[in-house]
Every structure is written in C-alpha cells, then in structure tokens.
Symmetry: C2
Subunit: 931 residues, 2 copies
C-alpha cells in the first residue's frame, strides 16, 4: 500500500517550503510543523523532510538499499539549501552543516535518534573555524559529531567514547567539558576518529553524502529499534496512528556562538496552571542539549527581557504567532544565533487537566477558539483528575501493596475490619478505611461511614468497587498482597501486621496502598470547569443522569450536574440496618399474609426514601428500578449461618452467667455497642433468647438452602420475583406513587419513572403494568391528585432486545443494563471472568478491552442498536438510555450518540466526564464510523 | 368482524345441498361433512346447517335474541325438507321430525348438546303412531324428546326425570327400558310433561317452531357452557382453531323401526392396527344411543353380511366411497331405516401411531394417497410411542410416585443406589434401575449398566434426563415423592421403604413409578415405518444427525437412521472410570509439563474412542466438540471432599488392623469389589496410604476452592479453557486427526468435524485454528495421508450470533447450541429455572412453552435467523445445524427449515421423529408463517 502510494506520488523528499503541514502521517509531526512554520513565515532554518513512505520502503527491503531515487532527491534539496544559505555541503571554505532528526506521526520523545553537525570532516573543519573564528567551538562540534555519528549511525557503544574522554578530562584536571580548551578538543577528536576506525574496521567516513546516507538509514532503522517498539507497545500506538519515521534535514544554527547567541525551550502558556503567560527557560551561549544536561542552570524566560530585549520581543511575537496559528498551546524550541531568532521545532503542549480546562475557557474568551473547538480540546477521561482528591504529588511514600484502581480518589484513615465498627468510629468522628476480604450488601452502613474501602479479593466490578464508585468514595479492590483475618482483627501486608486502629492511605486512582497518613490534595471543580460543562450541555444531544440510591449520593449527583437519576437500585435501601430485619421477615414469611405484614412495615420507609430523593433531584426525573437481586442476597451465606449456629450452640451449652451470655451474643453479631446496654436488663431468660436466636438462624439456614441457585446471575430475580411475589412490587410501586403524590401536594416538582428489571417478554411487563395501573387509581383517589410518571423496562436480557418491538408497545422508555447484557452476550460471569480468564483475554488481544469497562460495540452494541431501531418502529417516541457501568465511558458515549440514545446514566463523579464526551460525540458525529 | 362477515353474506343457514364442505369454520366439522356427503351423492337424511357466525352473533347480544333473519331462513329450509320428505313440520298426519345437533370446527366429543325427535307434540304424536304403526316406538320417541329437550333446552336437572322413570320401572317390575310397554311409555310421557311444567312454570312448548328456536339457542349457548370452556382450555383450542358452534337440523331416521332397521358405527379400517378391513359394530332394531349404552351387546360389523346381505354390500360401498373421497380413514355413523341405508355423520378416524404409519404406507400402495400426503398424515410426536418399550397396556398397576417424563420408555429392575454397584450388578447380568437423588457426570458407568434411571431431584434437562435421553434409556426425574437416602441404602416412597434389591418399574413416557415388575411391550420399528422414513429422507431438505458420545450410543443412532453424529461431547469420555483419575491428574498439574504428561496418557485413549465412532458411523460425519464444561466438574464437590477428608482423618486415628483399614478405605470410595482383593496384599503401609490419600484429597480440595465459580454456566469453560490450556485442545485435536488418519490407512471412509464450544469472538476461533493447522501438518506427515475434515464453531453464546459474519470467515460450519443460547438469551439458568419459576411462567402463560423443550422462535429463533443470514453473507456455503435439546422438536423443525439450516442433531430415539418433521417442513413450507 505505502509502496504503491509512493510509486504514484514518486516523491520522497519535501522542502520545508513545499511540504504539506497537515500531513503528519507522511512527514511526521516534527517535519510537518517545520513545513507549516516555514510557510507561514516563521524563521525556521532552511531544510527538508524525507517522508515516512521512504522509511517504510527502506524497511521493507532486505538489502539495506534506500529507494533508488531517494538520494537524487536529497541532493537536489541540498542544492537548494546551499543556494539559500550561501554555504556549500562539504565545502572547505564555508561548509553547510545539517542536523538529521527523526520524527514520526506521533511524538515518541527520545525514542529515536538525532545526529547534529553532519557535514564536518577534515576538509570542512578548517572552513568552520575560519567562518566562526572560534576554534574551540569548531573542535567541540567536530568531536560531538564523531561521537554521535559513531554511536547512532555506526552502532558503536557509548563507553568506547566515554572512557578516553574521561581520561582526557582527568589528565587536563577539569571536571566539566567547559573546562576543556580547543587543544583538548582537537586531541579528543583525533582519538575518536581512531576509536571509530578500530571499532568499524574502516576510517570515519569523510564523504559528506556518505555521512548523510548512513545517517538517514540509521534514523530509519531506529523506527524498528527495541526502544521504539517497546514504547509503541507501552502506549498502544498502532500502525494506523503512526507508521515509520520521517527524517528532517535542517541547516545547523548555533546558540553557542557567543553572548549574542542563546538557546531555549518554551511553552506558550504555563502548562501547570494554564495561566496565559510566557513560560520556559533559556541559556545564553549554549547548545540545545546544554539546557537539558543540567550542568548550567537555565534561566526563566522572563529574564530574557532584561538580557536581550529585542530578542525577547521577537520571542513574544513568535509565541503569539504560534498560538494564533495552531489554536493550541505550543511547546517549542528556539535558538538565537548571533542575534537572529530561529524556531527549531513546535508541537502541541502537554498539560494537566486543570490547565487544559482553564486554557480552553480562556482561549474562547480571547476568541482564539470557538466553544466547539474548546470542548474538543479536552480529553474527558482527564477530568477524572479534577474530580477526586489525589495524593500530594510531592509525597515520596512507597506503596506496600497494589490492588485494582476500583474507584478513584485518595483517602487516609484507621483500619477497621467490619462495617459495624466502621459506623461506630465514623460516628465518633474518626476517619476510617474499611478493610475486608470482600464486601457484601450488609456492609453498606460501613461504606457510608468510611473514607475509603480496601478489599483483598474481587475485581473492578466487585460489590465493593461498584458501591464505592456509586458513592464516589475511593476504593482499592483485590489487593491480593494483603491477607485479611477478620477474626483476629488484623491483616498482614508483606512482613507488616496491620492492627485495627493503624493508619493507612489508599489511592483508588492507581490501586496503591500505603502505611501511615499521606497528605491528599482536594479536587478542583473550578469555575472554568463549570463554564466548560455548561457549554457541553448546550451542545450535547445525550443528557447525563446519575446512578444513585441514597440521599447522600443523590446530593452528590446534583453537585456533579446530573440531570436526574437514571438508576436508583431500591434494594440498596433494603440493606440499611433498620430495614434488613424486616426484609428478612419478608423472606422467611410462609404465607402471603405474613409477607404482606412485613411489606406494610417497609412501605412507609421506602416512601420516605423516595420522597427525599424526589426532593433533592426536583424537578428532574428519578428512575426507580424495582427489586432486582435474588432474595438470598439479603440473607447471610450458608457457611456463615452454619458457623453462627455452631457458635450459638456452643454458647448455649457453656453459658455461665446470663449477662455474659447476652454480651457475647451481641459481640458475636458484631454490635459491641449493644453488648453492655442490652445484656443487663434481660436478666434471666438469656437461654431462651439464645434458643430463639438458634431457631431463627435455623429457619434462615433452611431458607438459604431452599433458595440456593447454581447460577444466581441467571436465577430467580428481577421481574421473575415480581411475578412470583406481586405483593413486593405492589409495595414498591405504591411507595413510589405515594411519595410522588406527597410531593405534588407540597408543590415539589418531580418526575418518577418506574423501571422493571430483567424483563424478557412483554407478558412480564404487562403483569407489572397491571399492578401500576391499579395502584395509580388507588393513590390518585386517596391523595386526590393526578400523577405524572413513566413506566419503562430495563433492557438487560438478550431476549428483550429481540422483542424490542413488542416491549416498546408497553414501555415508555428503555434503559440498557449493559452490565448484565454484557454478561449474557458473552456468557461471561463478571465476578468469575475478571478473576479468571478475562485478564488473559485482553493480554492475548483476544478482546481489545474489558467489556465490563468499555462497551463491546461489535457485539453488545449491535444488540443495542437493533433494539433501539426495532423499539422505535412501534413506538417512535420511545426514550432510550443506558445505566450500566459503561454509561460513563467516553468512547462508548460516541456510540450511544450514534445509535440515537436519549440519555446515559453513570456514577456521580463521572457525570462531568460523560457530559463532555456527549458534547464531543455530537461535534464529531459526522466523522464517526462503526467498523 | 364476524357480524360484518355475516352482514355481507347475509346468509346464516345452508342446505346440505349447498353448504361448502370445506368450510368447517363456518359450518362446523359435522355440518361441513354432511354437506360434502350429500353433494357427492351419499344418502344423508335431508337437512341444513346454521352457521357458527349465527352462533357468534347470538352470543354477542345480551338480549337472548337470535339474528333477526335467522328464523325466516330456517323456515325456508324446513319448507324444503317438507318437500323432500313429503312430511310436514308440526303436521298431524305425517309429521316431520328433526334432530338438532351441535358441531364446531374441531371435534369436541360430548361437550355440547344434541336434541332428537324435535317436532313431536300432542298433535303430531298420533301422526307418528299412524305412520309407523308402532305405538310403543312413538311414545318412546316422545318421552325421549321431552326428557332431552327438558334437560338440554330448558335446563332442567337430570334427577327430575330420572326419579319418576326409575319409580315407574320399579312399579312395572322391569330392569331395562326395553321391558316397558307402550302404555308405560305413554304414562311416563305425561309425567314428564307435568315435570317440565312444574320446573319451568310453563307447559311444555307445543309449537314446533318454538321448540326449534329454543333448541337452536340452547345449542348456541352450550358453546359457552362450563364443560365446553374447560374442554377447550384443556386441549388448547384457541379461537383461531374453532369459534362458535354450528347447528345441524337433520331429518330424523330411525334404526328401531323393526328387524329391517339397524344402527351402527364404523371405521373404514381397523384403528388399532391399521389393517385394511371393515371395522365396527351394529345393532338391529335399535337407536344410535343403544349402541353406546351397553344394554344390548352390539355385533361386529362382519356379521351384518349374514344378517342383511344387501345392506352390508351398501355399507362396503359407502366405506369405499368415504375413503376414496376423504383420502383418510373415516369414523362414521349410519342408520338403516326399513332397508334404506343413511349415513348420519363422518369424521377422520383417530388411530394409534402404529395404525397411522401402516395405513399411510398402505394407502400409498393403494394409490389413495401420494407419498407427500402420506407423510403429512402422521404427527411426528406420535412416533415416540413406537420407538420405546412401553408398559403393557393391560396392566392395572397403580403408580406409587410421579416424576417428570424425562426420557421415554419403560423399564423394570432392582433398585441400586450408586453407579459402582449398578455396574457390578449389571455386569453380573442383573437388570437394575439406578436410583439417585440426582446424578453427576461421574455416575456415567452406572447409566451404561442400568435399564433406567430414577431421580428424586432435577428437571427434564437435569444431568440424568439429558444423559438418559442421549442413551435412549428410560428416565423419570424429579420424583419428589421419593426420599432417597444413599447412606442407608434405602428410599422411602409414601409409607413403603425400598431397599437395595427391591424391584421397581418406571415409565419415562409419563413419569410414573411402580413397585414390582410390570410387563413391558417392545418398540415396533416396523417395515412400514422404515418405508415412511425413507420417503421422508427423499423429501426433507434438513438432514438429521444424532447426538452421541459412545460407541453404544452411536450404534443406536445408526439403527435409528441418523446420517452422522452432530454432537459428540468429548468430556463424556473423560468421565469413564479408567480416565477420570488421569483427568484429575491433568487438573491438579502445577506445570504445563505435568499437564502434558497426563494428556499424553489420555491421547491414545481418546484416539481409540474417536476411531471406533468413525468406524460405526462410516461414511457419515462425526462432529467432535472439544472440551466444554468447566474443569471443576471432573472433581468432587467441596462438601464431598470435606466429608471424605473428615472420614479419612477419623480412619487414620482409629485404625486398628491394616487390612480393615484398607477395606474401609475402598468401601468409602464405594468400590466394594476392590475392598477385599486390594486390601490384603498391602499389609503394612496402610497408614502411609491413608496419609497419601489425605494429601491427594487436600490437594483436590484446594483446587476445587480455587476453581470455584459464582456462575459456572457463564464461567471458565469451552474455548476459554482451550485458550488457557492450549495443550488440552491440542491433545484432543491430535487424537481426532490421528484416528482419522488411521481410518484412512485402513480404508474406512470417515468425515470428522472439529467443533469449538462457547466461541464469542473470531480471535478465539483463530487461536484454535492455528493449533488445528499445525497438528494437521504433523499428523499428515507422520501418517503420510491427506486428511479431509471440517472446522466449525458452536453458536451458543449470544455474541457469536452478533459476530456471525466474522466467524463465518473462519468456520466451515456453525452448530447452534440452543441449550446454552436459550439460557443466555433469557438469562435463565436452566437448572434453577426449571425447579423454581419456570413452571409458574408457563402456567401463568407468560411463556407459551418451556423454551428448553420447544425453541423460542420469537427470541432465540430470531437470533438464529440473524446469524444464518449474516454468516452466509461472508460465507455463502456455510453449513448450519443445531445440536441442542430442541433439535428434535417437530414444531421447531419447521422453523429450522424456514431459516435455511442444513441439519438438525438430536438424541437417537428422536431421529425418526425429526426426519418425519423435516419432510413435513419441506412439504408445508409455503404455508409457514412467522408471527
């Protein structure tokens, strides 16, 4: 392909005056920018680019020959350089020297090779001395060239040059190169020539075109060097993105030709803060590498104004010109040679997220960019940095364990091994980190109380991870280096034993765990970010909602700018300490009546829950998903119950004093706070109480065994429960509608949406709709209001996608549950896959990404697209959204926009990210391609 | 709709001379046939039909009014009857009497009402007496009419008539009606008239048109009577199939008018055997109901030849005429009135499967039918009766427990509670029934040894059910009434305790369990069935293969006519007693080398397995599925290991004598046969052996815990294992290809197909393909042969459907695994769903059928259709089949044909059923509709 392309164009070499500044694939980033700058009149040393096509053509052959026409083209270009500079390549009187620099389509800093001062040899050296009148400079240039050429182009090891050089410095009694005289440098040049001859068996090439040809090949070859290959693998640079390196041949200019010369690097704005101020460093009478080498300390660029006033003015002009042309912060290099300013390179500046946001907003105000361009400048994922506290970057602490970065943010606190104690200490004002092997729904109160969560088992979609993300709390999951022993109330990390009360710090952004407290820096939700997101809202088609189950989380969602709640998992409410016992009663109920009694106790609680969510989110929608998980999730595990029963039996047999018994009983339940208070008044009757507890636990055990499922993910859950126990759904529906009715009475605007999980056939939806219709009539009558709400279906079962036409006749909205849909589409159990084969699958590139983090567009996405299309056939006004984990993933959001979704719903801290991505999806829709 | 239709046609009533004999929906089955017979010249008493539209129009109103024009139409028709018969309706001299009979589109025997002798009243009765000269006959007709009319049309309870009638008989001193004189009957007629007057408050209607109108309404109303509604629900008769009843008004003829009169019922052939012989019974001087009433014993129709030679000749003529017209065995009623033969009714005869098959083949030979018609006559599901032994129908045994009919066929044998003992006894020639709570893969040798399998847990797709069906052995699953206690080696059924060695009988066709031995009748795979299936093969597009994993099953498949093996589950071979220990070693291996050692031991065994399958199935294809189930399935459960370890520990501590120890050890493993032989020679060293056993079990326990998965169905299995342990797949592939190479060397034609399970992305398929390609080269070189085989993919993961285009570029065939695909599409775990909510789902009609038995066309089928379409886009020659449970289901087979599958694969005993269904699918393709 590339050979064909070049065969057609027939041109491998492009002068800076002619090259297409937008064709970075052909000319490399550096070359394209040099062309661009030359053509807009910036003072760039004359030069030309050899294209990446030439590189690929060369690398494709086995015989080490450049494409046949290449060196002819190069010679023509050198002729032009000679004309432009009045110098001659290889000319003994006024020699033309060039640098040979690599440059691929993507910046790969330091990964490929550069040769300076090419064109020096025994003939041209005297000419250089004569022209510059500076013998030391010339010999320094010569020995640098031999050394660099020997190393880069001829493949000679560094030490071969370094050893004699160090020896010379020792003999001369100097520490730094600067202490060497012209004589010293002449001597070492000669030594280097001998060294090269010995190492290669040939004398150092004296023919300048031979030098040039060898250098060009060396740069080409560096593209396939180990360093470059490793780099590309590390940063996922594919051939699509960059293929081959270009070679830039540039006339040498020298910043070390006296006090009217200098060299420097600059940013057009401060890349750390985004402040609109000239930024960078320079050195007078120095070469580019000296700025980096660290021997002389470079000066802040502002000092240049004093030192070289006119040069500074020119530099400011250059900076303005670059920004106004590129519409982007530039990172550029320049050299002043005898009072003339040359720009040697420019590229887009890398910045942190805060600076990106600030410059985006300011550049719009400066009319450098329009809003659309500003929105496209910021990578949504980068915003993550701004939305969570991070560890103080100046800290030198070393992580003692490494887990998965399960929920971003950093937090310090005392280690606590169970949720009850976390709550106790949390309420007492202590900062705690909840440390568990893994968490379960009944730990939920511990999450509320903790600053962060650390688990030694489970993946990025484990319970701990999902809940923590939902709450916006830091979480490190699956830190396998930590052995948690809850019974002993300690954990072992390497050689260290962590006791309850020890302080640790976790960083959920990278999965690190540290001993002791490390300072954190708070998140910055700046005015500029607010402005940017406002613009995003104006442009985006997709609206962004949040997943939230509690008032706290809903408040957080509102702060992050969510336009409603797209997923409220009602079962999360069931797990609260005051409700779980009622839920357990409901589960253990033997008759519908008994179950109804428990439900009657739950209803006012749920109603209050919903009402407070409606209030916080008013006037936006709150989408309530009816009970979803299999009900055994509300009971302890079989093992746990067996253990508890064994303990209780032992207790019953060995009981001595009643108070002691009661205390132990409460301790056993992990509720020390009750242990003393409750134990006393009971006096006698303790044994009976234990026996009652045993009876209850035995009942629970029986139920747990009865409810056992081989594959709970595919089990008796969601609407299947709602069909089996319609009274449960009826209770929840009534609680929602009563809460809505109360709001309406109180003048609070609200828009509830009732959502049915796990639907696979329209019959299920119709059965629930019957309940909704009936309850609506009752509540409207009771409260004397007219209710407005919507009724919709989760689309998370594959069959529901196939039946979208039919479901859309009943549902007013669809919400894709992409977590479950992905599990079912791949037949991957998330919990199992992420611990077992999934890492291997992405490593072996069987899958590009973990489909539970990044939507699998080709498979799951296709199902979604079909569903949207079919659903809107029968219900053109159908609203469609997504509330799975992948709802907040920027790349996936482009796809959601493409297939015409109306909204995404994600965890609160990802709302800003999703908003920006949604705006970008709209802006980039014309160039979106599905492959 | 119906009102509209009748408004357009404006005609509710049709003479037998005019009605459309094909329009059973409008005229009912009986009416249409009466019209048809009349019009082809069969002697039917004159009459007419009131259409079902009239019925529906009547039932739609609330005011009990017939459609306005109806009675006018009826009167016109009565006029025509009067002309035809020369009698007058209500005429005192020569009265016309009619019967009023219901008849809907589908036969609903006895479910709706009939009134005879309508038209009798005080005026016409003397006329009837005069015309017949038979007073007793006339009064009998009159009292029958009053009674029937009273009951059916006026809704008077039976007892009201029965009590005085019995009283009369007592007074007269007679037992049977026949003993009553004309005087008695006259008396009872008068009593009945009084009874009606008392019950209704009105005199018995004397106006014959009033009688007729009341009777018509009564028949119409009977359509919505409880009996009829229940019947339609029971037999799933929808409105599509039959809506409303027609009313047939037929001139009465009498078989009880003397010795030249008779009445009878007949079949045109013997419905029990299909033999082409006149069949049926008759009574001279009797009415139709007398034949059924059982007071007089009817005579075989062949005797009529002697008794009424000419009538018999006419009857034979009638029979021939009916068959040659209807091209179907007829079940007909006739009456001979004074030497004239009338046909009163005909309908298609019901037959058992054997008779259906025989008559189909014979009618083709007789050129009554062509092959296509013959194939369409037989319901494929009926063949099931012919393919398994059944219980002797004459047995009066009562079932003691009821389970699910999991695999058809009946079997008797001694109860055995574990697979080892089943094998032991089986080899000793004993017939055994394996009785387990549930079965596991390691019980497989017990299946081979047993006549049948009975489990107390699990559904129709439990391990026991699936394996038994695969082997064609009877199985009753989930017989919850039986409590199995394997430890005690007994089971409790109701009050009875079953000990090992007791004999039971199971019927897998209906799920019944009996104590003791009950005779079974062998299956009949008759020549006629062979002929029919040969015709089916000629016509069908779908070819039919079988699922089989062993030589025995493969032989059975060949016997049943399978054209190859569509699914050979290699893991079934892993479970054999001689292999499982090697498989366990493979699983416990810590390094690839250790694993390779185990695999090297397995390979020759697998090769021999495959070779013998190839030999049996030669020259047809054998499709080998590479290892599919999660590997923990080859290990005992955690609980079992914990228990075994506890036992072993105890044993170690309490050991007395070494021999005892060893014996116990083997007993513990359930291998009594080893217990004595093996224990002795070991002598000392017993303790070490126990310790070694403990170490091994501990290792296994560790592994089992490591392998634990929350949702094994969606776990580390199928190709995911093949990617993780490529050496396992490499071994299997090599074994397949080596077996093929050996066959080729020996001149045995074979066509292996290697099939990859659980594929979700083409990358997986490519990785396995790489192994296949490499092994092929090696084996071809080693054996110096050229191999021919195919490489394909299971399509059982939803994502593979979405990626069909891409997979089809690598796969030569697709095989739908509809078991897993259904699980994933519904998010139903089969094992859980069938025990929990699925029965409720079908009961509440949320789902029409259990989708694991009948393909869910609207959901799973849609996915399949998409896959076939997309797959053939990139690979037009792609072969596609199905090997799931639903592969052998007739209704689903129409769908497979419709979407262009090439083959189905099912359990061996379903092969004939599938073949017939495949032929029917082809024959009926034009009328196939997806809704």
């Amino acid at each position: 392909m590339t050979m064909l392309a070049s065969a057609v164009s027939n041109q491998y070499v492009f002068s800076f005056n002619d090259g297409d500044g937008h064709n970075k694939k052909l000319l490399g980033g550096k070359g394209a920018n040099l062309c661009e700058m030359t053509q807009i009149g910036i003072n760039v040393p004359p030069g030309f680019v050899i294209s990446t096509d030439a590189c690929l053509a060369y690398l494709e052959t086995d015989d080490d020959l450049l494409p046949v026409t290449l060196m002819d083209e190069v010679k023509s270009q050198i002729d032009l350089l000679e004309q432009a500079t009045g110098k001659g390549f290889g000319d003994s009187a006024n020699p033309l020297l060039v640098s040979v620099r690599s440059g691929s389509a993507l910046s790969m800093p330091g990964m490929m090779d550069t040769i300076l001062n090419l064109g020096l040899n025994e003939t041209t050296l005297p000419g250089l001395i004569k022209q510059t009148g500076n013998e030391r400079f010339a010999y320094d240039a010569y020995r640098r060239f031999i050394q660099l050429f020997g190393k880069v182009a001829l493949g000679i090891a560094d030490e071969v040059f370094d050893e004699p050089f160090e020896e010379l410095k020792r003999q001369a009694g100097v520490n730094a190169d600067i202490g060497l005289t012209a004589e010293h440098l002449k001597e070492i040049s000669n030594v280097f020539l001998t060294v090269v001859h010995q190492a290669t068996g040939r004398p150092f090439p004296q023919d300048v075109y031979e030098q040039l040809e060898i250098a060009i090949k060396a740069v080409f070859k560096s593209w396939m060097g180990k360093r470059a290959i490793d780099y590309r693998r590390e940063f996922n640079i594919t051939r699509d993105m960059a293929n081959g390196t270009a070679v830039n041949i540039v006339t040498m200019v020298f910043g070390n030709m006296g006090m009217d010369s200098a060299t420097g690097v600059g940013f057009t704005r401060n890349p750390a803060t985004g402040e609109n101020i000239m930024y960078g460093e320079y050195l007078v009478n120095a070469q580019g590498e000296d700025v980096v080498a660290g021997i002389r300390t470079p000066k802040p660029v502002l000092e240049l104004e004093q030192e070289m006033t006119d040069m500074y003015r020119q530099l400011v002009e250059l900076r303005n010109r670059l920004e106004s042309h590129y519409k982007e912060i530039q990172d550029f290099e320049y050299t002043i040679e005898k009072g003339v300013l040359y720009c040697l390179q420019t590229r887009n500046g890398k910045m942190n997220a805060a600076a990106k946001v600030r410059t985006s907003v300011e550049m719009v105000k400066e009319k450098l960019l329009n809003k659309e361009q500003a929105l496209l400048r910021v990578d949504p994922e980068e915003l993550e940095q701004l939305l969570h506290p991070g560890l103080d970057p100046s800290s030198q602490a070393i992580a003692v364990a490494q887990g998965l970065p399960a929920s971003p943010g950093a937090a310090s606190g005392v280690v606590v091994f169970d949720a009850d104690r976390a709550e106790l200490l949390g309420k007492a004002g202590e900062k705690v980190i909840l440390v568990r092997e893994e968490t379960k729904p009944e730990d939920i109160h511990g999450f509320f109380a903790a600053e962060g969560i650390l688990t030694s088992r489970g993946g990025k979609t484990s319970h701990a991870a999902v809940v923590a993300r939902g709450m916006g709390k830091p979480c490190v999951a699956g830190a396998e280096g930590i052995k948690v022993n809850t019974h002993k109330r300690q954990a072992v990390v390497g050689g260290t034993v962590l006791f309850e009360g020890d302080v640790i710090t976790i960083d959920g952004g990278n999965g690190s765990v540290y001993l002791g407290e490390i300072e954190t820096v708070p998140p910055e939700f700046s005015d500029d970010l607010h402005t940017l997101l406002k613009w995003a809202d104006e442009i985006a088609v997709l609206s962004v909602m949040a997943n939230a189950d509690t008032v706290e989380a809903t408040k957080k969602a509102a702060e992050y700018g969510a336009k409603g709640i797209g997923l409220c998992r009602t079962e999360r409410m069931f797990n609260a300490q005051d409700r779980l016992p009622i839920v357990v009663d409901m589960i253990l109920a033997n008759t519908t009546e008994e179950r109804q009694q428990a439900l009657d106790r739950l209803r006012p609680i749920q109603r209050a829950d919903f009402k407070s969510l409606f209030e916080v989110m008013s006037p936006h929608a709150v989408t309530i998903r009816l009970l979803d998980p299999p009900i055994h999730e509300f009971l302890p595990t079989e093992k746990q119950l067996e253990r508890e029963l064994a303990h209780l039996e032992q207790l019953k047999n060995t009981v001595e004093g009643v108070g002691d018994l009661m205390g132990t009983l409460w301790l056993l339940k992990g509720q020390e706070n009750h242990a003393i208070d409750v134990a006393k008044p009971f006096g006698e009757g303790g044994r009976e109480l234990v026996e009652a507890a045993i009876a209850k636990k035995e009942l629970m055990l029986m139920k747990v065994r009865e409810l056992f499922e081989v594959n709970p993910m595919l089990g008796h859950r969601g609407v299947r429960l709602g069909i089996t126990y319609p009274e449960i759904y009826a209770m929840q529906i009534r609680a929602v509608l009563e809460a809505a009715a109360e709001c309406k009475k109180e003048g609070i605007k609200t828009h509830p949406e009732i959502m049915v999980p796990q639907v696979c056939t329209v019959q299920e939806l119709l059965k629930v709709k019957d309940i909704v219709d009936q309850v609506r009539v009752e509540v409207e009558k009771e409260y004397n209001v007219e209710l407005e709400f919507e009724f919709g279906s989760m689309i998370e079962v594959v069959r529901s996608c196939m039946r979208a036409e039919s479901l859309a006749e009943v549902a007013e909205f669809f919400s894709f549950g992409t977590n479950d849909l992905t599990q079912a589409s791949f037949s991957f159990s998330r919990e199992d896959a992420e611990n077992k084969f999934l890492p291997m699958y992405t490593e072996k590139e069987i899958l590009q990404d973990n489909p539970f983090e990044v939507l699998d567009i080709k498979g799951v996405g296709k199902l979604m697209q079909i569903s949207v299309e079919w659903g809107r056939k029968t219900n053109p006004g159908l609203r469609v959204g997504i509330c799975g984990e992948q709802g907040g993933h920027p790349e996936s959001i482009h796809f959601y926009h493409h297939i015409g979704l109306n909204y995404v719903s994600c965890s609160a801290p990802r709302v800003p990210i999703a908003k920006l991505a949604a705006a970008q999806a709209k802006l980039m829709e014309d160039s979106y391609h599905l492959n």
